[in-house]
């Protein structure tokens, strides 16, 4: 807990720098808004339809897969931390992780075989 005190100090400094950049650009820059200048940029032509268009599901898939693999990775970390010390008590942790990883690899193989991310 105490170790995070300097992080708090750093956070305050970072806020000051961000706010400083924000203020400086507002103070120094001229302001001369005209409607054409404030329009949405679409390579010079008049913007057509809203920018909030529905997206492909591919992005969503990536996000879900990332979530799953992130959870998996989160469990690797505590394992990695105690693995070295546990070696004295035999290969129990190694086997536990190999089972865990086998299932994970099965999932990866499924992704590739089904070719759901169209990776091939």
């Amino acid at each position: 807990m105490e170790a995070f005190l300097p992080v708090g100090i750093l956070f305050i400094l970072a806020i000051i720098i961000s706010a400083g950049l924000f203020t400086v650009k507002r103070l120094l820059g001229p302001r001369n808004p005209v409607p054409a200048k404030l329009a949405v940029y679409e390579c010079g032509v008049t913007p057509e339809s809203s920018a909030r268009i529905p997206f492909q599901t591919g992005f969503y898939l990536i996000a879900v897969l990332f979530l799953l693999f992130d959870v998996e990775a989160a469990f690797f970390f505590p394992w990695a931390l105690v693995y070295k010390e546990s070696l004295a008590e035999g290969p129990a942790l190694l086997i536990a992780m190999l089972i865990y990883m086998a299932l994970l690899v099965l999932g990866l193989v499924y992704i590739f075989r089904k070719d759901c991310l169209k990776l091939n």
Binding site: M1, I53, P54, T57, F59, L68, V82, A96, I99, C116
Partner: protein, 169 residues
Amino acid sequence: MREILFVIFSIFTITAASGVLLSKSPVYSAFSLILSFFGLAGLYLLWGSTFMAMIQILIYTGAIVVLFVFVVMLLNLNTEKENPPNLLFWGISAGSVWLLSLILLRVLTRSIPSKLPAVPVDQLRTISKLLFTRYLWPFEVLSLFLLVMIVAIFAITRTGEIPVGGEKS
């Protein structure tokens, strides 16, 4: 000092959480959710559980909210086009409110300690060791669960084109 920080983080978390409910736009809700998760991470830090705090940020803030924001942006949720809530919606809502009230009642009627308990030493290694000894089976079952999730996601979405740009699928 810890008590003051506890109050600050709690108020921050609750304020941000109410922001999730009160924002009109779902994107702003997601933003408030990030802030409230940060408050939670701060609370974990106060309990001395740095590992939990980091996992909270890594998984919840870094992955789950990304998913939420993606869904909001992908579906392009418009508040005005929302379906009127039906009976099921009201049933679930009423049920949740009742459950939450009961939990709150249980918590509030208990005696509240005036001081936070002391921080245990070397929580990091203790948690890790427990996870791979006493809780080994839940851990292994979890990976099976994640495998099922992967299969389920593809079963639900079906289509999976290369995400190149913003064309409609």
